[in-house]
Symmetry: C2
Subunit: 365 residues, 2 copies
């Protein structure tokens, strides 16, 4: 617990993120769970109409309360608007804050618990504050409990905008009510390969859930990572959202994915061996790699390991390393690990070298 | 010289073809040279207008003369129209006869010298007889000499249609005159990668030459193998065609290709390492391979070896093995090597297994 280096430190970039650990509950399919709470201070306008002074007042008040709230053993605070672009991108890549918070030069801040990076608070994003908790594996109730506790500690010293009729008041009507968004990030390569992912998406959409990619609202699913989240917040208590996701939807998707994997291996073993093998061949032998193709190939190699397909089962990297690699091959992480700025071509070179090195067993005595 | 097995024997398929040997003159670029002579018997109509009896008479006469002509230490004769389809395809894949000869059920035959398979005579293809000689590497004069000698021996006992005004008379006007087609098969991966191959094609076309793929007139270049041949035969002595190809065109193309290879390595080392590496990764890790992608990847690995690029330089297969593989991954060869009939899916599986096995160093003491 003594490692309090910032999430943008070289060491942190090399270590990866805590929420990408392997060996978690249902970790073969579930990558991580996230609970985010949107809150606003009463007595201040929403940010779209706030003056610079009001913004600063909000930030000061929230920051002071964060300092009092003892959210974790150690805490990092960053004035995001003063951070260089690379640092901001690192935090976005690590899922500690949103792209929205990274943008713009108006006062905004981020608090992150260290060293686990499990709880973070965005200040002056869309809402005055957004508390989030991110945990590896199928741990939505735990993430909810942690986020909720952090929220309690923060609300304790803040006057939060709350309507007895509507619940929490938020800048965007979609968040009014509980202000909660619960998300589960799933690795669904077999559902994608068997084209069943579209069915899952439609079913989720019919149930008022959204399915998005690794990097949020408008991103395509990259590396077969899909994020399932609740959409509606008004008139639905947190316990209902939690139960729906944790007890119904996610277990169902996990079961579908596992069935699809078994099915691929039973019905088309050569095809899946081929796809996983090609992916491994790419990662081991390419000398230039784009982020997209790297994510896709790592996903297939991870599937290959899950199915115990010869080539993939024999690589040096375990499941956790593969997940961390998905993060580490992102542009900002790559540059931090390399400890130098790199243009796109240089990143493609370094990415290929890094991936090859991570997947190749160390030789020598 | 005691191996007189037919070119469609399992052993021959496994051994590959003599004209694909590595270590030949200019073998880094030139795969093989071929000289083909079109001849017809006087006193018989061209085949398009010949009766069945006339066809049989032609075949008998030519076959008898072939038997007398001692074209090689041993000789195979095959009634192509009586051969099963797989056998015919094997002979086409080995470049011992044309697709045209393989087609149809009218009487037609093929003579091949054994064990070298260097000289072959197609009977009742487009012309009554077509003599061809195929040699590895830059050996056009030698191929011309061998074809010419074989032709002399055949003409010795046959009445060949010849006009003092036009020269040899042939079924298609493009062959009238010398009836000779000289071809050089070149491996031009760097010219293709640098997109200079189009310039070469245009230049060749302007000089009255044709540039075709590995499998003849209408085939796309596969595995970056390009065949440059003379088009015109009328009014141009063989010596002129030979000199033009052997002394001017082919040396120029060889020099271009070598310059393009050096240039790739100097200017874009990463890119070429990447392309060669990806190709090797595919061959080593895919579990299903189509002929086209296999040819393309083998071509790149061969380039990688020529440029001494780490991964490719370390494989178990040498240049000769790589060229033979290009032949052996063809559908009929693959089935002969496997000693069983296979559908497309089975061939893709077997092809991937065969390639992987050939490129992987043998392990164990």
């Amino acid at each position: 617990m003594s490692d309090t280096r910032a999430p943008w430190s070289v060491e942190s970039a090399r270590r990866g993120a805590g929420w990408l650990l392997g060996g978690a509950i249902d970790g073969d399919v579930v990558v991580s769970c996230r609970v985010r709470l949107a809150r606003n201070l009463s007595g201040f306008p929403f940010l779209s109409r706030a003056t610079l002074d009001q913004r600063l007042e909000v930030m000061d008040a929230v920051r002071a309360q964060i300092a009092r709230a003892s959210l974790g053993p150690a805490l990092l605070w960053a004035n995001i608007h003063e951070l260089p672009s690379l640092e901001r991108t690192l935090l976005v890549e690590r899922h500690l804050m949103s792209k929205e918070l990274a943008k713009g030069d108006l006062p905004r801040g981020l608090a992150v618990t260290l060293p686990d990076e499990r709880v973070s608070v965005m200040v002056n994003e869309e809402d005055h504050l957004r508390v989030q908790c991110l945990l590896p594996g199928m741990a939505l109730p735990q993430a909810w409990a942690m986020a909720s506790e952090a929220d309690d500690r923060l609300e304790d010293g803040l006057d939060i905008a709350y309507s007895s009729r509507y619940g929490y008041l938020t800048a965007c009507p979609t968040n009014v009510g509980t202000g909660v968004r619960m998300s589960v990030m799933l690795h669904l390569p077999a559902l994608r390969l068997s084209a069943e992912i579209e069915k899952v998406k439609r079913a989720a959409s019919d149930m008022g859930l959204s399915v998005r990619g690794f990097y949020g609202e408008n991103s395509e699913a990259s590396g077969d990572l899909f994020q399932i989240s609740n959409q509606r917040t008004l008139g639905r208590p947190e316990s209902m959202i939690l139960a729906e996701l944790h007890e119904q939807i996610v277990p169902t998707v996990i079961a579908y994915e596992r069935a699809a994997r078994r099915n691929l291996l039973d019905k088309q073993p050569r095809l899946v061996e081929d796809q996983c093998g090609r992916a491994l061949g790419l990662l081991l032998h390419a000398r230039l790699l784009t982020p997209e193709e790297t994510m896709g190939a790592i996903s297939m190699v991870r599937l290959g390991r899950a199915l115990n397909i010869a080539d993939c089962a024999g690589i040096a990297a375990d499941d956790a390393t593969l997940l961390q690699l998905m993060l580490q091959v992102q542009p900002a992480h790559l540059q931090r690990i390399a400890e130098r700025q790199m243009d796109q071509q240089q990143r493609r070179e370094y990415r290929a070298d890094l991936v090859r090195q991570r997947l190749t067993p160390a030789t020598g005595a």
